[in-house]
Amino acid sequence: MSNIIQRNKSEKRFQFYGLLAVGLAIFLLLILLFKIFSTGFSAFNQTYLGVKIQIEKGENLAELDARSTLRKNLRNMFPEAQSRSDKKNLYSLFSPGAYIEFEEMLKAYDGDVIDGYYYFLASDDLDMYFKGTVTRQGNSAGRIKPSQMKFVDEFVKMNLIELQFNRYLLGSADSRNPEMAGILGAIYGSLFAILIAFVTSFPLGVLTAIYLEKLTKQNAFSDLIETNINNLAAVPSIVFGLLGLAIFLNFFELPRSASLVGGLTLGLMTLPTIVIASRSAIKSVPPSIEEASIGLGSSKVQTIFNFTLPLAMPGILTGTIIGIARAIGETAPLLMIGMVAFIVDIPQGPLDASTALPVQIFLWQDSPERAFVERTSAAIIVLLIFLFLLNITAVYLRKKLEKKW
């Protein structure tokens, strides 16, 4: 037996190792978060260009063609842009979204004369230059050619470039123009899918756990089921995608890419996790409480629903939310059922085609446009916030429902 000094020393060492492990984990997490936030933060702002708009009295504003009117006003600002290629270079500084914004502005405008500077969405190339993502080399910067740069310099000189809040990022669905691309469609898709996954897997999972734990006898059959459920929890998620494809798309003929199918597939994937968590939560309810209930004349089912389940609920919910949080981050099963797709329309219900947040991240990080790099990080930030809220909910529910005995 070693003496007390040595034992104390080894205890100190062990504590130090533990601290080291935690410190390392926190350090790596901070690096990751720093990288994501420093890249993604700039995506919440967007470059806008000011244009002097002059529309005289007598024009019917709602009927003006936004595209040609905006271009005409632009040419008035730069009378030196005469040749066709010069005009094209000037127009190319704006996003196609600029015309849509102008059209909306004209429709909503109260009054019959417009005279003043208004800001419109700039192209992604200019956005990248103005945010400093691409650096200037001589008279060009990334995809901005010298023939365009001369107009950019004019805008800078006139102080008509500014950053505004990026209302597209959280307000629209996917687009191939990075400056107009958003994740609202993906957020809806994820919400629908998670909701459906929850309402299908939670009752099924909890009932299965109750049955296995309280209502059936321990025999070879229940052992077999138990082993299989444990195995299912470890099956790679892509396999559930194939299952979803075979059952929901090929057999039930549900619409492809719908978040309903995504939710059902993710629900299947979460089911084993919920069963396992619920069983251990039910197991940890003190038998004395159940025996008391039986002793007072309750039936088995009454005991389960009045005492066992409420006492096990914090554990069940924690397990469920961890399972759901894992499902939120999945892309692989969604690939199989067609949710990894370019979808411009925001889904109105679970039967509409939609993507999900991790899918949007996956699609954007593979796009050639530079501006998608920061938007990918921004989408990751939103996904992290999502997960954070879910985990907070889990902690809150556990604290709230926890009963002492």
Binding site: V206, F252, L264, G338, A341, F342, V344, Q365
Partner: protein
């Protein structure tokens, strides 16, 4: 809780296999950036059609889905970064799809690039073959092949830089890899006379010799993600990467394309066909779906319009390289008349 799940089960059971009002498109990840732009423009045009839904499944995967049958549960259009194969046409025919409309939309160059801080490469397709193939001719004399043991680029060709061969490129599942192997390595192979002669005798062994990339760690597969390759190149100036021209164009501030066979990869040289490592891009339409799924003809017209794929079309901004006017005109005509594919 029981009621909810019962309701859901009932919902699942009673949903009809509804007719679609949205075009479904699958296929190549290389054509995806172009098809999505067209789809968005098409959807925004206020012609009463919904924006098509596009899945990026890869050329092979897309054609498999496309040929799996007719009806609303199958895709209407598939994109491909290579031409449809005979075997795929017969698979389609087996499943009742006899009429396929072929559209060629333009070219995509494959570039060999490295960091702006690295040396400049002036390389031939033969050098690429000798540097990257698993088996290469042993020395100059006999018509035998050995395992490729070259370590530096200078081992391959004395005019190349004296740095280790370290190439980041796509994995075998990628269409870019298929095209690179066929155009660059196969092209390089054919500059060696005895191997070229060998092709006529035994095509499958020729393919095995010319199309097999070495697996000793000099060629590093980087997943189907060109942005990742560019990041690797930036952090390692001695590394070389293989990816599509559109990614080079977006990242000229950090990487530069190698001169291949004396030709710099630019928009003009790829369009004229001088730059040899480039391929054609396609999309295929199921004729039977025209009429039952709204908007297919209009989508085809939008994609094939001069406005999109012409010499000054909007897809050029996304890196598409237009075809010569005569070829374009032929495919535009075939598209309008819904002509069946000629193979």
């Amino acid at each position: 809780m029981n009621k909810i799940s019962l309701f859901l089960v009932l919902l699942v059971m009673t949903l009809p296999a509804e007719a679609r009002d949205t075009i479904r498109i699958v296929g190549s990840s290389t054509v995806y950036p172009f098809a999505t732009v067209v789809a968005e423009t098409f959807g925004r045009a206020n012609n009463g059609f919904k924006t098509p839904i596009i899945e990026s499944t890869g050329s092979g995967g897309g054609l498999k889905l496309f040929c799996s049958g007719k009806g609303p549960s199958t895709p209407d259009v598939t994109n491909a970064s290579r031409r449809i194969k005979k075997s795929e046409i017969s698979l389609c025919a087996e499943n009742g799809i006899s009429d396929i409309i072929e559209h060629k939309i333009g070219f995509d160059g494959i570039v060999v690039a490295n960091s702006n801080n690295g040396p400049s490469f002036n390389i031939s397709r033969k050098d690429l073959y000798l540097a990257l193939a698993a088996k290469v001719p042993c020395g100059m004399k006999d018509e035998v092949t050995c395992v490729n043991e070259s370590v530096t680029w200078r081992d391959v060709n004395s005019s190349l830089p004296d740095i280790k061969i370290e190439v980041y490129g796509p994995p075998p599942t990628s269409g870019t890899r298929d095209a690179f192997v066929e155009l660059a390595l196969g092209g390089g192979c054919n500059t060696i006379p005895w191997i070229k002669a060998f092709k006529k005798k035994d095509k499958s062994s020729w393919k095995k010799l010319c199309y097999t990339i070495r697996e000793d760690g000099r060629y590093i597969e980087t997943g189907e993600n060109d942005n990742l390759i560019i990041q690797k190149l930036v952090s390692n100036p001695n590394a070389v990467g293989i990816f599509g021209f559109s990614f080079l164009e977006q990242n000229t501030d950090s990487v530069k394309g190698a001169v291949v066979d004396g030709i710099n990869p630019t928009f003009e040289t790829i369009a004229s066909g001088e730059y040899k490592v480039s391929r054609s891009l396609f999309f295929y339409v199921k004729k039977d779906h025209i009429g039952s799924i709204p908007g297919i003809e209009e989508y085809m017209a939008e994609f094939m319009s001069e406005n999109a794929i012409g010499d000054e079309g909007y897809l050029l901004d996304n890196g598409l390289i237009p075809m010569p006017k005569t070829i374009r005109a032929k495919f535009q005509k075939d598209s309008k008349s819904l002509a069946n594919i000629q193979y």
